[in-house]
Amino acid sequence: MASKPLQKLTESLLQGNRRALSRLLSYVENEREGVDDVLAALFPHTGKAWIIGITGAPGTGKSSLVNTLAKAYRAHGTTVGIIAVDPTSPFSGGAILGDRIRMRDLSGDAGVFIRSMATRGSLGGLARATRDAIRVLDAAGFDLVLVETVGAGQSEVDIVRTAHTTVLVEAPGLGDDVQAIKAGILEIADILVVNKADRPGVKKTVAALKAMLELGHPASLGQLVAHHGRLLPVEDKANGRNAETPMWIPPIVQTIALETTGIDDLMTVIEAHRNHLVDAKIFAQIERQQIEIELHDRLRETLMRRFLQDIDDAILADVIAQIQARRLAPQTAIEQLLRHM
């Protein structure tokens, strides 16, 4: 059970205290001792928020879009928690977290809470910290949690896997190709946004995205499922689809995040996606899959930590030396090391 001060903090959080919320988010990020007990205590209060991942190349307007979208949701009375992730400098370990600059419109609203996070160390660590931070916001009672990440690779894919709806933001004029194609992130997008629709080249960007979708799309759902990793496994491969689970085709929405152009459309498709998941009863399966991924992640982290705690540094050093001297293959080394567990 959590210590007294942590217990009090947990109670304050559940009562809506913002200072408690902000402290707990730090504890989660810093993996402070006892925080696992807090998260366990909060867990029964989670599972209510809808989680939306907003990802895309640098500068496409993600923060601006979060700002405008959150404001629109607030107008409907929906409360919004926001997590904005920016990269840690690999050289210094420091970071400049600047997403709030674009979210000024949300200040002074008790129905909004914005937290900036640096990617910090390991990729797995970030996925864990983000997942836990989302849960804390969820337990704090926010209806919606928006998670902004730079769509640059595996870490983003990991984060996005914890979202219910993933929005990929593109913008015209960022190069010849659509940015996401290189990152291989298109497969995980539920909604595609072409932001900066006031800029030249919008049509070209939309066309490129359409072409990409068609390439990956109707011919082989089996393939899409494998790539996507979050749709239902296809039972009726002969027909190309399972009759009971209509397929979600990612819609393309054009927005101007600095105004409100396209924001209503975006809210509509987000709602449609949510309804799709719930109606098609895919939701439970996605959730199950996400839990499985989370358990694997946690197991991996915990086993690794325990192993490194248990193993004698000298043994590890010796094994490394033997491998370097080509006396031992890395594959055989693992078997040897595991015997020490």
Partner: protein, 140 residues
């Protein structure tokens, strides 16, 4: 774990070059800098400090409005249970105002002549870890 610093620019003047230089220097010193940009009201600053759970609040003030802005920010931070979070000020502060600012709870004041190293050292000294800080004081 990284020290988290809010760098904010209250008041109406439109120059944030100095604030950006500091932000970058702090990042290069391994800190996480939450940068909020120009024309922040005291309410916005206190709110950002709260949501981001920062260890230090750094204010860049060139407008001369420090005696009006600082007490309000401090008051709001105390109301947010953040009275123990040190406030540092960078900018042009007349000597006769420095004592007043310290009385208002400002922990450090850095003029245009202060080096970024000096500021980094100062932050590293006053912030023991993410959970508290040692009382210290500094003017130049």
């Amino acid at each position: 774990m990284a020290i988290r610093v809010l760098i904010a620019k209250p008041g109406l003047d439109g120059h944030d070059r100095g604030a950006k230089v500091i932000a970058r220097a702090l990042r290069d010193a391994g800190m996480e800098v939450i940068y909020t940009g120009l024309r922040q009201t005291p309410e916005m600053i206190a709110e950002a400090a709260l949501q981001e759970d920062v260890d230090v609040v750094g204010l860049s003030i060139l407008s001369g409005a420090h005696l009006a802005l600082v007490p309000r920010i401090r008051e709001l931070m105390i109301a947010n249970e953040m009275g123990d979070v040190p406030i540092l000020i960078g900018g042009i502060i007349p000597d006769e105002d420095k004592a007043k600012l310290q009385e208002m709870g400002v922990t450090g004041i850095f003029g245009p002549g202060a080096s970024t190293d000096e500021i980094i050292d100062f932050i590293n000294t006053i912030v023991k870890d993410g959970d508290g800080f040692e009382a210290a004081s500094k003017t130049d």
